[in-house]
């Protein structure tokens, strides 16, 4: 095991961590901006909701790798794509990865939020109406806050899955964590070192995120845990492999 080679290339891995975090955070953010109106449309069963249902089904039913290939390699096939102003973005692997990840995450987040909207008790909406709140105020002051709290545990899973899904970036030439590991292996003709370092870094990031979400849950779901002594204590990593949350 050549640990010295890994340590010598620590800047490469640091840049990889930065690339991975950048893609993951931005994809989650853009995904959220798409998912919120999509989930509202699906929840209200508007005509747009039908479109979003199809969108969610396609993106959740196919591999992220293929979606990314389709955008990065596929779109470049058309001359009109290469001729338009959008080519400035679509010729860059980074933008293609970000677009694919954002759309993919949007689909999963929309499904999470739609479920959360459906789980908001009717009484909360009715209470808002009884207080004379307008429909818009009920959405912003009652529905959304209540749904976000409920969606928090699943959001934790989605964040981890996006982090793990972002390894696809390394397949389209980007130097993320896995890309750094593969470069190290190729440069020194190694079998394990680069990949093991990448695995370790992903693990640290994963469990840091899981811990963070646990803290958020403790803060935002504390009203559900008033009599916590009655309930079995949730260990730090419980539920992380909840099969119902697998995507």
């Amino acid at each position: 095991m050549r640990v010295d080679l890994v340590l010598d290339s620590w800047t490469m891995f640091a840049e990889g961590v930065w690339m991975t975090l950048q893609l993951t955070v931005l994809a989650l953010l853009f995904g959220f901006l798409i998912a919120l109106p999509a989930a509202l449309a699906m929840y209200r069963r508007t005509r747009a909701g039908t479109f979003w249902r199809g969108f969610v089904y396609v993106f959740r039913g196919t591999p992220l790798l293929v979606q990314t290939y389709l955008i990065y390699y596929g779109l470049a096939q058309f001359d009109w794509v290469r001729a338009g102003p959008w080519w400035y973005f679509l010729r860059e692997a980074w933008w293609c990865a970000l677009i694919a990840f954002s759309l993919n995450s949007a689909a999963y987040q929309a499904e999470i939020l739609r479920g959360a909207f459906g789980n908001v008790p009717r009484g909360e909406i009715e209470a808002g109406r009884a207080l004379g709140l307008s429909a818009r105020f009920i959405t912003w002051l009652v529905l959304l806050p209540s749904a976000f709290r409920r969606a928090l545990p699943q959001y934790g899973n989605e964040v981890v899955f996006m982090l793990h899904g972002s390894v696809v970036a390394s397949v389209i030439t980007l130097q993320d964590i896995l890309g750094a590991g593969r470069t190290l292996n190729a440069r020194y003709y190694l079998a394990y070192e680069g990949l093991l370092t990448a695995a370790l870094l992903y693990m640290v990031l994963t469990f840091a995120l899981v811990g963070m979400f646990r803290l958020l849950e403790r803060r935002f779901l504390r009203h559900l845990n008033v009599r916590s002594e009655d309930k079995p204590v949730r260990k730090p990593l419980d539920g992380m492999l909840d099969p119902a949350a697998a995507r």
């Binding site: 293929v66 096939q77 793990h164 079998a191 990949l195």
Partner: protein, 232 residues
């Protein structure tokens, strides 16, 4: 578009590889999941710790990293072992490495699925069986397993859906599966968009079929549940 028709047999062959990969991985994952769940439920630390390490490792590391580690690391291991035994170069099969990696990953998910299902069977049933003098094996086979199947099915179905999509990643080590073959065909005909779109549709079709089949299986295993007034 006409290239797509010309390459249809190739894509069909790739689909076969992908489906075989997924099914064999599921078999391995089921075995590992049963083993992992048994280890976690045994209550013995020397079994519980390795199982906990296994599930922790898998949930912390992305699938592609594990696949590459198993493929390249496994190749190196085989070379070292081969040298020691004086055997010439042996190549690790990409398909085998893929099955092993995907099975290994989803075995961890199934460990949790099976464990959860087992724990939701009331303890009193096993105790009643014991009181009646039914052997441990018969209890497991006739009382626990039939219920386990019903309780674990929705989780199992979920894992299958995720597993199928995960097989696409194995093309990165050069396996000639659906994605790998479409990639080659797309590049040589410069029709990548249509080939990847075809791949997308094949995966979507597999998802739809799986949903239908598993939904029906769920209905069948849950028959009699609602009649008693206890919807599962």
């Amino acid at each position: 578009m006409s290239d797509l028709i010309e390459y249809a047999p190739l894509l069909a062959q790739g689909t076969g590889v992908t489906v075989a990969l997924a099914i064999l991985s599921l078999v391995l994952a089921t075995a590992l999941g049963a083993l992992g769940a048994a280890a976690k439920l045994s209550g013995k630390r020397r079994f519980g710790w390795p199982a906990a390490g296994y599930t922790t490792l898998v949930r912390g590391v992305p699938d592609l990293v594990l696949i590459l580690l198993i493929y390249f690391g496994g190749q190196r291991l085989v070379n070292v072992a081969g040298n020691a035994l004086g055997v010439d170069y042996i190549e690790v099969s990409k398909f085998g490495a893929g099955v092993f990696a995907i099975g290994f990953i989803y075995g961890a998910y199934l460990t949790e699925t099976f464990r959860g299902a087992y724990q939701s069977i009331p303890k009193g049933q096993a105790e009643a069986a014991r009181a009646l003098g039914i052997s441990r094996f018969a209890t497991l086979r006739q009382i626990v397993l039939p219920q386990l199947m019903r309780l674990a099915l929705s989780g199992y179905a979920n894992v299958w859906m995720v597993l199928v999509k995960s097989t696409a990643v194995v093309s990165v080590i050069g396996l000639a599966d659906l994605v790998g073959l479409a990639d080659k065909a797309g590049k040589s005909t410069r029709q990548q968009f249509w080939f990847y779109l075809a791949v997308l549709l094949v995966y979507l079709t597999i998802t739809i079929i799986s949903e239908q089949v598993l939904g029906r299986a769920e209905k069948r295993l849950n028959r009699g549940q609602e009649a008693r007034g206890t919807p599962a």
